[in-house]
Symmetry: C2
Subunit: 337 residues, 2 copies
């Protein structure tokens, strides 16, 4: 090809060009299976070897609701749709074992993007030692990715129901990054941004499921209740309170935020208190287990910070508040605002 | 209230009025759990007792793709979204055990309809001896219902891969009803229709999963390969042929159609050959098992009919054809037509 000549690129092939079964034929061989898988993708059902107790969770990401075109690459969308489920398994102290994918895409969606999306799911699954057992592909005007994840339950189960007055409230990692990253994306931040902004946007696009922390906290019998922070700190703590029939007080100034968050928000922790999608673990720890938790810290793979305490009552109180409300905030898909 | 006075009905409450968590709080207690369920809905994950080998399948129904508003009541949509998955478990000879629901609805969707939808899933699940272990509810412009179903695998597994030349091809029940029912709905058929039309529309709205037939055929070691007819007879037989690396000949005039189908289509079996969504079982039976199949017929809960034979080669040939094509037809979500 002569220098300076720009090749005419062929029009991108869409799913409509390839067809459902053409696409499946190309994708199926790339799906991972493992020693638990007896029958892999491509049959009416997959068949897996089961342990005694299985964790089950499902979560969906929907275009126009959880993301807009351009906020996430197709691969990032695939990764995230797996990881939001892995985070639920982490909150139970479990190990992800295998997943099923239910995809809805418009016929005009590029076949290459759909492959990248699938690759993102497979890559995230593999990093968590998990196979993709099967799935379904259907037409849908708006893109949706619904992932069902099965996991091995730990010997001792921890739910949202075990918190007792006097327990300390801990959270892993840093809060507010994803909500701030999302705000930057909404404002149109893209190229030419600083390191702090890039970090925050990455935290929205590529959440980490705290699997190691969840397993350690449950197996060492440290925590009395646990949940992942997907809807926002106050709201998810409220879920623990409701299920455990207790109240809680949050010490707002102790809520951990990242250097990137602080660089942009200063001392304002409102997004750290109510912003969703951080996928950190929020747990309650009885007083007698605090010393053991301190010794365990290096095993968790991330920091863990005491941010409050469980008390009698019902609601979540915010002390040293940066916002006047008690309770509320957080993400509800359907509430009119 | 005085006669003749029409009460002002309050405006229907929408999901936006009730809120995600308000809705979940109302729905969760109605979900069924059973002795397999250790932790039910409302936690980060459900926990179930597992058997040694678990079947897994997922399928979604999407508004504007699988149905239009008015074609199905919310309850029928719920039932159908469960039963299309139960049909996949039937095709493996398995028993449904528990399911997860991933729902996407618009905030303007009536809360009462969403409850009816959920009730439809729970009712269909219960009829199949199955619990609803959990789910997810998200906002979505177009309604979608994605159900993941887990089942107990039979001791001997049957897939799409075991068909051999010389095997006979059988199908349960009657084909073409659902496609004809759908055509009637598309043409606007509603009240004031005849019995035949009502039967066909019901077959589209309320498919039966052939669980008893599937279990009997697999447990009695009758079938060498099996699939459910969701995309259309020719296409689903093609799936068996592709996976088993064989060809097949279909005797078109032997394809079973219902009296209602015959009342409207006469001898034209084209919809029975290529129409989808009948959820009958299509299987291949080695010659040596045909006598045993005949003795088993009363156990299946539905008729079973020989409609062709497996042969060397690849494609599906239609003999005594009512349409000139070989292969093709059937439903592909993405193919341009």
């Amino acid at each position: 090809m002569r220098a300076g000549r720009v090749p005419a690129s062929p029009p991108a092939r869409t799913i409509a060009d390839v067809g459902e079964f053409g696409f499946l034929a190309r994708v199926l061989p790339r799906l991972t299976t493992d020693s638990h898988t007896i029958v892999g993708p491509g049959q009416d059902c997959a068949v897996i070897r089961s342990r005694t107790r299985t964790l089950l969770t499902v979560d969906a990401l929907v275009e126009g609701v959880h993301f807009e075109p351009g906020w996430l690459s197709a691969r990032q969308l695939g990764r995230k749709s797996f990881l939001v489920n892995a985070s639920d398994v982490a909150a139970m102290g479990g190990r992800p074992r295998c997943c099923l994918i239910s995809l809805g895409v418009d016929p005009s969606y590029p076949a290459r993007a759909l492959s990248a999306l699938q690759d993102g799911i497979v890559a995230a699954a593999r990093e968590c030692g998990t196979s993709v057992a099967g799935g379904n592909l259907t037409r849908s005007e708006k893109l949706f990715v619904s992932v069902t994840l099965l996991g091995d339950a730990p010997p001792r189960l921890v739910t949202r129901q075990g918190a007792r007055p006097g327990d300390h409230v801990y959270v892993t990692g840093w809060l507010g990054d994803a909500a701030l990253g999302l705000r930057l994306l909404r404002a149109g931040a893209a190229g030419g941004i600083g390191r702090a902004e890039a970090h925050l946007i990455r935290r929205f696009r590529e959440p980490a499921a705290r699997l190691r922390a969840g397993q350690s906290l449950v197996n060492a019998r440290i925590v009395s209740a646990m949940i992942d922070v997907s809807d926002g700190l106050i709201q998810d703590l409220q879920h623990i309170c409701t299920e455990s029939r207790v109240g809680a007080v949050l010490q707002a100034p102790t809520v951990p935020v990242s250097p990137a968050y602080r660089a942009i928000q200063g001392g304002d922790r409102s997004l750290a208190l109510s912003g969703g999608e951080d996928y950190e673990l929020l747990c309650t720890v009885p007083e007698r287990n605090v010393k053991r938790l301190e010794r365990l810290q290096t095993e968790l793979g991330c920091p863990i910070t005491c941010i409050g305490q469980i008390e009698p009552g019902r609601g979540v109180r915010v002390a040293g508040a940066l916002r006047p409300t008690t309770g509320g905030g957080g993400f509800d898909h359907f509430r009119k605002r």
